[in-house]
Amino acid sequence: MTERIRNIVILGGGSAGWLTAGVLASEHCITSNSQISVTLVESPDVKTIGVGEGTWPSMRETLRRMGVSESDFIRECDASFKQASKFVGWVTGEPGDHYYHPFSPPQGYGDVNLVPAWAEIDGAPRFADAVSFQPHLCEKGRAPKQIVTPEYGAVANYAYHLDAGKFGRFMQKFCVEKLGVRHLLTHVEGVDTNDNGDISALRTGDDRVKGDLFIDCTGFSSILMSRHFEIPRVSTTDVLFCDTALAVQVPYPTADAPITSHTVATAQKAGWIWDIGLPTRRGVGYVYSSAHTSDEQAERALLDYVGKRAANLPASPRKIPIKPGHLQTFWHRNCVAVGISAGFIEPLEASALALIEMSAQMIADELPATRPLMDVVADRFNKRFLYRWDRIVDFLKLHYLLSRREGSDFWIDNRRPETVPDRLKELMELWRYRPPGRRDFPQIEEIFPAASYQYVLYGMGFKPDPSAHQRRLDDRKSAHDCFRVNQQLTGKYLNGLPSNRELIRHVVTHGMKRV
């Protein structure tokens, strides 16, 4: 009997399942390696969730490594370019209240600390506007690259907005036709186990799908991890209250209407509304705390936001439960959860697809050679992803913590000290005297880098007190050089970049070159 890990079985065919299949199949070259197989089993009658329309820039690298053509991806997934998140109304809710969290780091990041110099400017501009050209590109509806920029290349760092349903089908086709993934459309009726408790096979009628490693990508039902292994869940509702979403698709007024190249997140009485521009439509949704508002009130707020286009929506709002939280253990015995089956949280920083990429990549990189080694890898995986979930919770909480919005319990409750994780409290104390830096986030592949914390912290109006120490990196002259360079780059890029709509139109009709 061999102990080698050769056959990987993925259960569930949404974005999580197909993305994981693609990463595993391409990283392990299964088309040319008969020693290993990847099989994806999906039920013909299970609908995918189809939320999660925002990605991180990591998706570019993930797709490129798999050998996906970016032009095909843009065309077939109704994808557009995303350069930032814009938070509207989160600080005070008054007119003009907004800040950006762009994907490009501050000018001179790592070499210069811009925070003290920025804080000293009289009538200081918004932090992100002073340190990054990207908010200016977003405000003007510019694309992050030129028509001559090759596939996956960027002038300004970017990610995507995409149609999750189309993305799943696109990945399915690519995985099956190009990467050698076996696809079984069949209903799983049960699980066979070995004496040691490992899953040996999925039962499908009279048949068995045998495997050495099983990956649970079954979304909310979490069939293998929650139902079969009964792994407990860690709820995060005590920190992050949003537990329900209402989503609608909003048509554009005309086919050539501008496509916003950032996600707009607008604060509401009991949560916030996402607004994502795809080439053919917008995806808009209200994420709210059911303890702070009713479904009826939420729907009214959503339709108010959509405004006069609400009269001719193609469908009424769809309700999606969020149940914020994650599994206590992600990898148990010979089974690992990826995607919503592992955990779900409000999509405030589009972490869902990014977590799938990170999970799939770690499984591919550390795929254990033998069954005994799997326990070692599982332990490493669990520690790594518990850490990541904690950091996501901290980072999302930061968006609420510094709000000064009044007149709504949702926002006031969010500031109660007992709802703030201890580590975040400590960091907030440290950051009074120095900006977030890399030692605050010491792991490789941190889900949110210190630059992201800077954008949110100072975007929310946090007032630093840099008087305690003067460091070499705090040099004011270097900082002002950076502000100047940023202004020059802003002018240059605004001149040289097409609009987001223009570039998408070009990609759809002509495609981008690979070189």
Partner: protein, 249 residues
């Protein structure tokens, strides 16, 4: 600003064209767009690269005359110092334009000859006459017509050439770091050339396809033209040295 007019023997009956080669007449260009059929003639003097057209992102070939904007190393006080001058230079100040015409109830685009009346080459007194006394084309204009025709055929026919090269991954980007004898440095970016490693790995079927379509020759002409880069730099070094010597003397 260019001011293109449809060429005709009434409005332009006294039109003359200065055919000398100089910066004043607009020859201070550092490259000109070309097409595969011209590569054989060009590669004796000029490096041939590919660039992307900024308007549509499509590849096009260029013959290089310098290593920075506005620099034509082939120009000196005697004119253009090479025995072959690219067609896209020779055609100046004429250009193919398009006129929409009704034909059998359908609108067709027809190529027509236009002339840039703001070009410094345009004159009433000096240069080659465009039309003969009774309205026929001059020998000079006959030559220009055939150049325009070759250019039009060559440029419009080259799309399939770039498509084939792109599909085979034969085009790669490159950055040329130029260091001159006096220590100054220039960087040429945004240029593309043939990926010779990929070319060497093509199988018989792919090579046969390229050969049958007539693409193999221009591919090798581009590769051959790469050695013209060092010729350009040599001219540039000598011009610099001469300029320095002049300043010191």
């Amino acid at each position: 600003m260019a001011n293109f007019q449809l060429l005709n023997n009434i409005d332009h009956k006294d039109l003359k064209i200065k055919t000398d080669r100089s910066a004043e007449l607009g020859d201070n260009l550092w490259y000109a767009v070309t097409f595969p059929e011209e590569f054989r003639n060009l590669q004796r003097y000029y490096p041939i690269f590919f660039i992307k057209n900024p308007n549509d992102g499509e590849f096009e070939a260029v013959a290089m005359f310098g290593v920075e904007d506005g620099e034509n190393l082939f120009l000196d006080e005697k004119g253009w110092n090479a025995s072959y001058i690219p067609l896209n230079i020779m055609r100046q100040p004429f250009l193919i334009g398009f006129q929409e015409k009704e034909q059998g109830g359908q609108t067709v685009r027809e190529p027509v000859v236009t002339v840039d009346m703001d070009s410094p080459r345009v004159s009433q007194e000096q240069g080659e006459p465009v039309f003969l006394e009774h309205g026929g084309s001059s020998g000079y204009m006959e030559q220009v017509n055939s150049i325009l025709n070759m250019l039009y055929q060559g440029l419009s026919g080259s799309k399939s050439f770039y498509k084939a090269l792109t599909e085979l991954d034969l085009i790669e980007s490159f950055v040329l770091d130029v260091q001159l004898d006096d220590g100054s440095e220039h960087r040429l970016a945004g240029f593309y050339t043939i990926n010779e490693d990929v070319l060497k790995e093509l199988d018989g079927e792919q090579l046969e396809m390229l050969h049958r379509k007539g693409y193999l020759e221009p591919i090798y002409m581009v590769i051959a033209s790469m050695s013209r880069v060092s010729d350009l730099l040599e001219i540039k070094n000598e011009q610099r040295k001469a300029a320095m010597g002049h300043a010191e003397g």
